[in-house]
Amino acid sequence: MHRQSCCVIPPHILRSIAENGDAEQRDRAHATLEQSAQFRGERALIGEMASLLALPAGEKRRTVYDAKSATHLPGKLVRGEGSAASGDVAVDEAYDGAGKTYDFYRSVYGRSSVDGRGMRLDSTVHYSSHFDNAQWNGRQMVYGDGDGRLFQRFTKCLDIIGHELTHGVTQFTASLFYGGESGALNEHFSDVFGILVKQHALKQSAQKSDWLIGAGIFTNKVHGAAVRSMKAPGTAYDDPVVGKDPQPSHMRGYSKMRSDNGGVHVNSGIPNHAFYLAATMIGGNAWETAGRIWYVTLTTKLHTRATFRECAAATLSAATELFGRASAPHDAVAKAWKEVGVEPQPLAEGPRVPIRRDFVPPSAGAEVPLPSLRRRGPRKAK
């Protein structure tokens, strides 16, 4: 066979460096791998090798790749865990943002990475050219530089990085189907934990936060503060070129549009506003009480096709478990959903969240099938 992917440093030695080496040794091994793979023109090899070099599961492990304006993933490895800043602002923002998101989930909710098992956090920056997007592709984050006319680079906002990584958390927990109401909830949880990552990093209380998603991502040519507002959905931007923020803040404004997977980025305004209301009614740091209720909901109480009404009931159930039925948090959550016109509807009996014990993170660059999103609600007993 022409390709011999393990001839540079034998895998057992790499593994040993990964487990026993210090940060500098890991760095040097990374550099060696990078050079030799480049020499042979085997970009895909880097990902495989890098995964062997990664830290043992349970620790923070980050890698950042540069797509160099192309669309091949993951691209060229440019920064690994513990290595020095690269000087490329997008690379370093992706690295730092993934770290702050990891630290947030770990220290606040005791969660080890997006899969709960220490999965390595991979990011690719400089994806395509003038690319106006950031996305989670099922296994990694992908960030564009923006077109420079309307959007700036997508690594600029910590809440966007938190948003994308939370799509990963959702994939491994509630696995919310990305369409219609469950899709809007998928977006909602990403906005909730995206803004909480930012608030946590800034040590900012619910009262102090601007509750904006993507604040500062627009160039100064666009009339708009951000992409979405949880405080006042529908008011984030209003611009002759970009249009007007279409988000509703109440069920009466629910959009039945077919595009955008049934308006997942539009209707998320409704639960987003409910979270904002609950968090500000409770007061203090939003990640401590409202955030905990939403975290327990996402990770233990929902099913793939959950509706807004079921999500409302699930948050009330989580609030009861955590703080009691007659507690202030429970009261605030109930009032918040009422204010946005969502009447709680209890979920059917049975286990909610499909537990994925069989997951093995694929090697970088591999095509990754999405987790099965087909199941409708809890499985019936036969």
């Binding site: 106006d132 997007n133 989670w136 993507g214």
Partner: protein, 79 residues
């Protein structure tokens, strides 16, 4: 040939509409090539763009563009 592409979704969830009428010959060629392939309309990944494509009134929903569909979309939307 008249081609209208509406892009929705993406992290920002904004709608962009682009129309070419008549489409230049090079774009027509790309459209004919694209229409030979079934656009993958399912398996949406979070925050990916979604495209509604209309070619002389024939409607397609494209979520994960194949190479041919990707070329057509890029040609019509520009960079």
């Amino acid at each position: 040939m008249r081609i209208v592409i509406t892009r929705t979704g993406g992290f920002a969830g904004m709608t962009q509409r682009h129309e070419v009428d008549p489409a230049p010959p090079a774009v027509e060629t790309l459209a004919r090539a694209a229409e030979k392939e079934t656009p993958s309309g399912d398996a949406a990944t979070p925050d990916a763009f979604e495209y509604a494509v209309s070619i002389d009134g024939r409607e397609y929903v494209v979520k994960n563009p194949t190479r041919a569909w990707g070329r057509l979309i890029e040609a019509v939307l520009g960079k």
